[in-house]
């Protein structure tokens, strides 16, 4: 069936489409290569001071060193663990709270101003308190990750719930559906697209939270390496850690995009 019956115009259209996609991808990769190339060249010919700006080759060298002395995976693993655990807690807890707020209009009204204020509050202001309350280990950093991500999870999820098609709601009510039936049969499935968007935003915030937590207090992790590298002027270490963060954050986003494809198929 495929291909066999397509007209010449359609084949041409498909080819044009494919070519456009390829061009976009080539330019994307090319742009990165250009930036890295110029950076490397400028550093190589001493136009810029690579002690301050580092350079791609020094990043690669730092990566090799970290790998060789066995600390690479330790730091990556710790930050990844903190981010993932914080992300999962924030999403699950945030979703649950959103469900509870949806089920009770009064609760929603009572908590709304609190949520708004907590959302506007720069969470790093809580840093000292968190250290005093929870110590300087992972729990403190995970806690930081959760509070950075959870408010947006609650707000986005709730907005998704409340923006479900009113006609569908009327239909369910006309069938005599109870509120929990409406929740499970209509609200939750209808708000899957908004859940995916929430996940996308939350994953970014979880990275902010975990790295911020490591800035405030930590003995290991990529955030720790960045702070440490900055303090002892090892900018190669700062750049390398940032580079790893880019890859990890991109990877996690990619996983969510895959989940999206699966769920919305």
């Amino acid at each position: 069936m495929k291909n066999a019956n397509y007209s010449k115009e359609h084949l041409l259209y498909l080819r044009k489409n494919r070519r456009y996609k390829i061009i976009i991808n080539v330019v994307r990769v090319g742009l990165l290569a250009c930036i890295l190339g110029i950076w490397e060249l400028l550093a190589h010919y001493k136009v810029i001071d690579s002690f301050i700006t580092s350079s791609p080759s020094r990043v690669v060298k730092t990566l090799q060193d970290l790998y060789a002395n066995g600390t690479l995976f330790k730091h990556v693993g710790i930050t990844l663990m903190e981010t993932m655990v914080g992300f999962v807690i924030a999403v699950v807890l945030g979703y649950t709270i959103a469900v509870l707020l949806y089920m009770s209009d009064a609760a929603h009204k009572v908590f709304e101003p609190y949520i708004v204020v907590l959302n506007a509050l720069p969470k790093i202001a809580l840093g000292p308190l968190i250290i005093i309350w929870m110590g300087t280990g992972y729990p403190a950093i995970i806690f930081m990750t959760v509070i950075v991500a959870i408010i947006v999870c609650i707000m986005n999820t709730l907005t998704g719930f409340l923006s479900v098609d009113k006609t569908m709601l009327t239909l369910m009510q006309a069938m005599g559906a109870k509120k929990h039936v409406i929740l499970f049969k209509l609200i939750i499935p209808a708000s899957v697209p908004s859940l995916i968007n929430t996940l996308k935003v939350a994953v970014g915030l979880a990275w902010i939270g975990s790295v911020m937590g490591e800035y405030v207090s930590s003995r290991a992790g990529l955030g720790y390496l960045i702070v440490y590298g900055g303090q002892v002027f090892k900018l190669d270490l700062v750049m390398t850690s940032t580079f790893i963060l880019c890859i990890l954050a991109g990877g996690m986003y990619g996983i969510i995009a895959l989940i999206e494809k699966k769920l919305t198929k």
């Binding site: 569908m168 006309a174 069938m175 005599g176 049969k185």
Partner: protein, 242 residues
Amino acid sequence: MILSFNDVGYTYHTKDGETNAIEHMSFGIERGQFASLIGPSGCGKTTILSLTAGLLKPSSGEIRRENAEFGYMLQRDALFPWRTVEANIFLPLEVKNRNTPEMRENALRLAEKYGLKDFLKKKPNELSGGMRQRVALIRTLAAQPDILLLDEPFSALDYQTRLKVCDDVQAIIKSEKKTAILVTHDMSEAIALSDKVIVLSSRPATVVAEHIIDFGDNTPKSRRECPEFSQTFEVLRSELGL
């Protein structure tokens, strides 16, 4: 009488005050009748349906209904896009806790009888507007209601689809021998479809006139071709004050 309104009134309360939506409303509908309520827009037609279905309680007067189950069909089909056509049709069974094999089989029989057999596994967005409205009707019928409440179910369709779906819906409701109450502001739709037309005044709504319509051979198409059609249309028009 499967349903009768006796001197019913209904008042809305909002922060800004109260609105008399309905006043001294009385009418009756027989079992198997296809009745239309027509009136100027915003006259509280939907309120009447909600009262009929028991979603709202009248502020005064009395609504008597025989032991009857209601099914609602709305302006838009409101099919759930994440469910297949089949799962959409089963929705009322799930909600009303009557998801038994017999009920499901009955729903599927209806779907097949009215030409949805090949669409059962499809998602609603693969269907045309007219087809979707047909699915919505079968979904309403799946729970085996005695009275169908149709809230301008054709108003979101384009004119050609509308004529077709109109005929379609009427034929299905007649052949399933259901009682139906249609609210609409479209006079020709009311005349073409119903056995009885109840004309309402503007807010607060009350009954202005009732007409029994029995010309033609009871299909919307034959009705539209009858000379009485335009006469009735003129009568309704003057009663509505247009």
